[in-house]
Amino acid sequence: MIITKVAIGNNERAFVEDRFVNNMNIISSDDNNKGKTILIQGMMYALGNTPTFPVSFDYKSFYFIVEFKINNKLYKVCRYKDNYIIKFENELRQLENTSEFRRFWDKEISLLPKIVKNNNLVLVHPELFVQLFFVGQDKKNTSTIANPNYYKNDDFYNMLYWICGVKIHIDETELKKQKKQLQDLVHAKKILLRENKILNSKRKEISILSPTNDRIQFENNLDKIEKINQTITELNKERNRNLTRKLKCETAIKEINSLNRELDTGEIVCLNCGSLHIGYKTSSKNEYVFDITTTEIRKEIVQSIQYKIADYQEEIERINIELNNKQILLNELLTVEEVSLEALLFYKDDLLAVKDIDDKIVKLDKEIDGVKSNLSAIEVKKESLELTEKEILEKIYGLMNETYKDIEPNGTLLFTSLFTKKNETYSGSEQTLFYLIKTYVFQKITGHKMPIVVDSFRFEDLSTEKEKAFLDLFNGLGNQIIFSTTLKDEEIGKYDKDEFDFVNHINYSNHISYNLLQTSFVDYFNTLLKEIIE
């Protein structure tokens, strides 16, 4: 999106800014109160932002026009109080409030993010959306979003997730509803069982006659079987490990015994006279004469390994006994008891009396299963969602910290949140860095095409070196950039120098203080207005 014109005015006074270019624009002036902020606020106001004009500026008596292009399609928006008139490609729309404007934007211009607000998935208002690419000059607070009224910090996070592709959301009301339902069902079942104790009996005969009891007994049994089975598997593994260790030690002893044997060598004899008195000359190469270890240590080593083998053997035997015990237990659990017909008949009458209850519980069980599976589906979704959101944030913080290190290699800040804690304060220049880095990173992460607008981008001072670094960064994004700043005396003319040749410098220095709007612009303004309405 490229802003081409911004116009503010009425029949008496007006101002039109039409000098914007597609890439980097810096509006400067030699003093405050030359109208930079009014112009930028006016532009954002025309784009649907909540009004944040200085009190002295009676914005309600003016029309605000913004003209912009998206994919070479020209849009003209005129806002007067809460009314919007939009003209594009010979179509004319009239909208009565910002909510309508928001819907129009979503349908005709570009998709707006959706977030869950009061349990409904709704389009965000421009008020929140513009904070992705716009930083105003006044009332800065690093711990919140700008103008935290209807929207809160969390809403901003959710908007970011949506833009980064997280389009699903968890319906918390539904989740609560399902949880409550599960509670009720479980409670109802508990009461029924308590009132009809026979259904909860551990007697085998009952399970044959009652599906409820069968299920209860089966579940109990299954639990026990699983536990024992697990223990058996663990014991088996442990036995194998001990066996492997024992074998390793046994092999080691065998190897050591063979290594321990010195290779027998013959002796040298003179073949002529049979004398053993023969001289020996070695190479002068450094040869070691000492043994690697002493006999005592070698003996000790073998002894220790033998002890280890004995220990492992003992351990294996202990595990064997434990295993046998568990296997016996498992067999008992798996054996199906014979039930005599007499015993069945004995309980038949009692059970007939509670047949309705039995059926009711079976039905309850089915419902409980249904709700449980619903809940687990939601939980799974929720977990994966939280994971994705975490990843997005990590990516953002990572890039923020990386950018910070590039700009301020010796800096000590570490960003772990998009907003500071309430009691945390940044120094003036740190705050400026924080906002610029955030705005830069938002574009890098989301890849949005909106113009990046920062009013007073050097607020609270930014050294010339860092300023240049930031301008290079932003210039590299490819978005339209609209920055404003007040120049100090010694800086006047700096943006006209060669090193800033990528900057379109819009100079407001010759404006009369507190009088941006002039009669001289009224005709131009009226022409623009007519173009929209007619």
């Binding site: 321990n260 002068s284 450094n286 070691y288 073998v302």
Partner: protein, 341 residues
């Protein structure tokens, strides 16, 4: 004229303990100890120290007796005198003795001294003893037993009186190389090992061999080096039975995040690998070369963890010791690290 090997001892004497003490004296207690690299056993004399280049020689004759009198002292000097007269150049002539009769020294506290610390009377007896003995020995040309030769020689002789226990001599080898102070038993057994190897060196026959340059003596494999002796002492103290001691903490650091049963496996693997390497009797050279490398790399990188030390050791030397794999080498490094930290 060549140097002929004569009067080598052939059989082991009870004095061999003093020869080992003499060796360790040369190795650790002299100001010029660090210049001596080779200890040639029973070749020129009981023991002869030689520098790395094979040029400088420290000749030692040792005498175990605890109460040697002056004349006997002179007689013991005969082999030193023989070397003095020989075609080779010896730089120091040292008589290493177990003890001296009271009357010999002027200052009885001095255990290392030359004849200026010997009373006039004792000096005369020494001279007499030396001349008598020299005249008896067939390997000394009697025409060379002149007043001048004798006097000049006596000026050069140094007498060293042993005043230390075997274990103290061993302790001096390792004074800065290992952390733990080993028990008296271990020190004694190291001393004995050195002594045994020193005696073994006498087994070959060198009598009547002729050499022209002193360094040729090294061709007969009758020497030990400072280096291997020092390494031996370190190894004997550090490389104890790896299964008896607890797991070295630096090895435990490597495995602490593993599940319990894995940890046990790694420890066993490490211990057994080290045990096997220590038990191999047929890979002596490769083991010592590898041990030396691991020891020095560990010493130079004590602050670093076992993995980074492992990265720095010579893998070619490691491959020469087939009992070792990477786990057991790391265990080995940890043992050494713990031994010297």
């Amino acid at each position: 004229m060549g140097y002929t090997v004569l009067s080598s001892e052939k059989n082991r004497s009870i004095g061999s303990e003093y020869e080992t003490k003499a060796l360790l004296y040369l190795m650790n207690y002299r100001l010029d100890s660090n210049q001596i690299n080779y200890y040639v056993v029973d070749f020129f004399n009981d023991l002869t120290g030689m520098c790395n280049a094979g040029q400088k020689l420290w000749d030692i004759q040792s005498k175990a007796s605890k109460n040697t009198n002056a004349k006997a002292l002179g007689r013991e000097m005969v082999t030193l005198f023989k070397n003095y007269l020989s075609s080779l150049q010896f730089n120091h002539y040292i008589l290493f003795v177990g003890g001296l009769a009271e009357s010999i020294r002027i200052d009885n506290c001095k255990n290392v001294f030359n004849l200026s610390n010997v009373s006039v009377k004792a000096r005369a007896s020494i001279k007499l003893g030396l001349i008598e003995e020299a005249q008896v020995k067939t390997y000394i040309d009697s025409s060379q037993i002149t007043e001048e030769n004798i006097e000049k020689f006596l000026e050069m002789v140094q007498i060293v009186v042993d005043d230390k226990k075997n274990s103290e001599y061993v302790k001096a080898i390792i004074k800065t190389s290992v952390k733990l102070i080993p028990s008296e038993d271990i020190l004694e057994s190291i001393f004995d090992e050195i002594k045994d190897k020193q005696s073994l060196k006498k087994n070959s026959v060198v009598e009547n061999i002729v050499i022209n340059m002193s360094h040729e003596a090294l061709d007969y494999s009758r020497h030990l080096t400072s280096h291997e002796i020092r390494l031996l002492a370190i190894a004997r103290i550090i490389n104890r039975n790896p299964l008896e001691k607890g797991v070295p903490s630096s090895f435990y650091d490597l495995i602490k995040d593993l599940p319990n049963h894995k940890r046990q496996d790694y420890v066993l693997e490490g211990q057994i690998g080290v045990a096997k390497a220590l038990s191999n009797k047929n890979n002596v050279n490769n083991f010592w070369q590898f041990f030396e490398n691991v020891y020095f790399v560990t010493l130079e990188n004590l602050k670093e963890n076992v993995n980074s030390i492992f990265n720095k050791i010579d893998k070619a030397l490691m491959l020469n010791c087939p009992e070792f794999d990477s786990i057991s080498v790391k265990y080995f490094i940890s043992i050494i690290k713990e031994g010297i930290e």
